[in-house]
Amino acid sequence: MSKKILLSHGGGGEETQSLIKELFFKHFENEILLRMEDAASLVMGSTKIAFTTDSFVVSPLFFKGGNIGKLAIAGTVNDLSMMGAKPKYLTCSFMIEEGFEYAKLEEIVISMRDEMAKSGVKIVAGDTKVVPRGGVDGLFINTAGIGEIQYEGISAHNLTQGDVIIVSNEVGNHGACILATREEIELESDLQTDCASLWKPVEALINAGVKIHALRDATRGGLSAVLNEWAETSKVCIEVDEAKIPVAQEVKGVCELLGFEPYEFANEGTMVICLPESEAQKAIDVLQRFPESAKCALIGKVTTAFTCKVVLHTPWGSERFLEPPKGELLPRIC
C-alpha cells in the first residue's frame, strides 16, 4: 500500500520530525534550514535578521482567551522573539471558505490588530484566497515575519552542564483549553489559552543583560518536545523536578480525565529558557514584572546523567524519562 500522510505527521512529535528530516530536508537541504531553529537567522547587508513563517488551522476558530487571528500574530511574533529578534514586519495570507461570516472575519482581524500593538509589529503585505465550501475548514491563516536580531547566539545547540531551565508560565493551558472546547467538557473555572506575544519579556531580558543560551516557545508537543529537542541537539541531559513545573489545576483535571500529560500539551504564550545558573535569579526578577510571565519558575538543570534524555524527578524520589510526544496528538491546535 502506498504511504500516506497521517494526522500524527502534524502532531509536532516524533513523526513530524521524521517527515521534516526525511522529506523536506532531503530536498530543501541548506545550512540555514538544517539548524532547525524557530526562525532562520540571516545577514542582509550589515543587518542581522530573523525570518520565519507559520500557518494557523486551529479548530475551533474561537476559544476562551483568543481566536485564530490572535494566534496567527502571537505565533509568528514569538518565533522571531525566540531568536532574540525584535519583530518588525509580517505578511499575512487568509484562506477563507466560501460562506464564512463577514462579522466573524472582522472580529478575527480586529484581534490581530490588537495583538500587533503589543509588540509593535506591522502587517506590510498580504494575500486573500476564497475557496469553495469544503476546501478549508472555515478559515486558515498564514503569517510570515522578519525581525531585527538584538541578541545573537541563542540556539538549541548551546545547552551546557550547569545551565538551568526556566518556564515562563504555567504549561498546557492552550492545549487543555482547546481540547475542553472541542470535546465540550464543561469546566466550572475560567481556563483560557495562554496565547500571548512574548517580545516584551524577551526584550526586557535582553535589556537587563541576562545571558541566554537557548529560548523556545513551547508550542506543539509542549514542554516535553522542547526539552527533548534541546537535550538531543546539545547532547546533554535535562533533569526536571516535576513538582516545580507550574500547571494550572484545571489543566491537571483535564489531563486526568482524558489521560494526557500537561507537558505534552501545546502552549501559545509560554517559553522555555535555558541560561547559566548564575543568571537565573536576574531572569526570574525580570519575567515576574510581566503578566504573561508572572508565573515563571525554575524547573530543572542541565547535566550529563543520560545524554540526549530528559529525566523527570517525582517528589517522592523516583524518576523516569520524559519521552518526546508520539503519535496522534490533538489535531489542529494552532
Binding site: Q249, G253, E256, P315, W316
Partner: protein
C-alpha cells in the same frame, strides 16, 4: 470540591514516603504481585513506584488492557467493517492505532474511510441521526468497566428507533482471564492488585473464588500512587499473617456488590460468549460477551458476516507477551523489545496500547533498569 482535590491528596510526597518506609520495614519475603489492570501498570511505571519499593516486591503486568488483548483477526474485522461502502466506524481510544494483519484504522482513515475516535459511546447516536443513509458500526471494546456504556448505547439506539446502528462486541471479563493464567500452573504470582474501575461495576465479590482457590491475597486498589502503595502494604500484611482474602482499598468507589443497575442493564443485552481468543494468552472459555440473540439485527458480526475474515492470526514467534502476562518474563527480557517492536510498530500485544506492559516500559521504564544510574 474541585476535580484536582481528588488527585493531589493521593500523590502527597509525605504519604508516599511513609508508605514506602512501612512496606520496606514489614516486607519479609519475595512477593510477585500481578496488577491485573493496565491502568495500574501505567500508575506503577509513570510514578516510578518500583524504585521506592523493596526488591522483594515484584510487579507482574496482567492482561487488563482491552486494546492489547484484542487478537489481530478482530482488528481485521474492524478494518473490514470500516472499508464497507457507506459506513462510519466508531471506536474508542487506542484502537485507531493498532495494526491488524495489513493496515490500521488510522491508515485507513488517511485513505478517506470515515473512522471516528470517541470519548463517549453515546456520541454514536448523534452520528447515526446525522447520517441516516450510512451504517454506523460501533466497535465496542473494554472490560466490565465499559460494557455498561455499550448497553446504554444499545438502549438509546432502540429508544430512538435507529436501524443504522450496529455493534461489533469485544467486551471481555476479568475473572476468567485471571483464572486462565493461574490454572496454567506455571504462573509465578503470589498476590493481585484488583482492578479499580472494573470493580466499581462488578463489585469485589467476583474475586473471592480466585483468592480462595489459589491462596492469593487480592486487594482492590484505586489508580492513584498512594492507592497502589497502600494496597501493596495490605498485601504484605496479608502475606505476613498467612491470609489470602479479598480486601478493598478503593472503598471510596467500590462495594462488594458493585453497581447493580449497570449489571442488570448489561444482562439485558449481553450474554456470555462460549470462547474468546486473547492475544498473548489464547482461547479462554466464557471470557467475553456477545449480544443476545434477540438483538441479532444490531449485531455487526451477524449482519455483516460475509465481509469478516475468519482466519486466526498469531503474533510473531519471537514475541514473549504470553510469558510476560504470566510473570515469567519482563519486557526487557524480550529480544525484540524496543528494537523491532515499538509503540509505533508493535509486534505483540503488550506493546500495542499505552496501557500495555511493554508500551509502559518503553515510555517510562528505561530508568528502572537496575544500575542504569551508576
Amino acid at each position: 470540591m474541585s476535580e484536582v482535590d481528588l488527585i493531589e491528596g493521593f500523590r502527597d510526597p509525605v504519604h508516599m514516603k511513609a508508605l514506602a518506609a512501612l512496606i520496606k520495614k514489614e516486607c519479609k519475603s519475595k512477593i510477585n504481585i500481578m496488577e491485573v489492570c493496565g491502568g495500574h501498570t501505567h500508575t506503577i511505571m509513570k510514578f516510578g513506584l518500583s524504585q521506592i519499593l523493596p526488591e522483594l516486591i515484584e510487579f507482574v503486568h496482567g492482561p487488563g488492557c482491552p486494546v492489547c488483548i484484542m487478537p489481530k483477526e478482530r482488528i481485521d474485522h474492524a478494518i473490514a467493517l470500516a472499508s464497507m461502502p457507506n459506513t462510519i466506524l466508531a471506536t474508542l481510544g487506542d484502537m485507531i492505532r493498532v495494526p491488524g494483519s495489513k493496515t490500521s484504522l488510522q491508515k485507513l482513515r488517511a485513505e478517506g474511510k470515515d473512522i471516528r475516535s470517541l470519548y463517549s459511546p453515546l456520541d454514536v447516536i448523534k452520528i447515526a441521526q446525522e447520517n441516516p443513509d450510512k451504517n454506523v458500526v460501533f466497535f465496542a471494546i473494554g472490560f466490565e468497566t465499559t460494557t455498561p456504556m455499550s448497553a446504554v448505547l444499545m438502549q438509546h439506539a432502540i429508544e430512538n428507533k435507529l436501524t443504522n446502528v450496529f455493534f461489533h462486541i469485544n467486551h471481555v471479563t476479568v475473572p476468567e482471564a485471571v483464572e486462565a493464567i493461574m490454572s496454567s500452573g506455571d504462573a509465578l504470582i503470589d498476590a493481585f492488585l484488583g482492578p479499580s474501575h472494573v470493580s466499581v461495576i462488578t463489585g469485589y465479590k467476583i474475586y473471592e473464588p480466585i483468592a480462595e482457590k489459589y491462596h492469593t491475597p487480592i486487594v482492590v486498589a484505586g489508580f492513584e500512587p498512594t492507592d497502589v502503595m497502600e494496597s501493596v502494604l495490605r498485601i504484605v500484611r496479608q502475606v505476613n499473617a498467612g491470609k489470602s482474602v479479598v480486601d478493598n482499598e478503593y472503598a471510596r468507589a467500590v462495594s462488594r456488590e458493585g453497581n447493580l443497575k449497570a449489571q442488570a442493564l448489561v444482562n439485558t443485552y449481553f450474554e456470555k460468549r462460549s470462547h474468546f481468543r486473547w492475544r498473548g494468552i489464547g482461547d479462554i472459555p466464557n471470557s467475553a460477551l456477545k449480544l443476545r440473540a434477540e438483538y441479532a439485527a444490531f449485531d455487526a458480526e451477524i449482519v455483516f458476516d460475509d465481509v469478516l475474515p475468519k482466519t486466526e492470526l498469531n503474533d510473531h514467534k519471537l514475541c514473549i507477551c504470553g510469558d510476560i502476562l504470566k510473570g515469567r518474563a519482563k519486557p526487557f527480557d524480550c529480544k525484540v523489545f524496543g528494537k523491532a517492536c515499538t509503540p509505533t510498530n508493535p509486534m505483540g500485544s503488550c506493546m500495542v496500547s499505552s496501557e500495555g506492559a511493554c508500551s509502559a516500559y518503553f515510555k517510562y521504564g528505561k530508568l528502572n533498569l537496575k544500575g542504569a544510574r551508576a
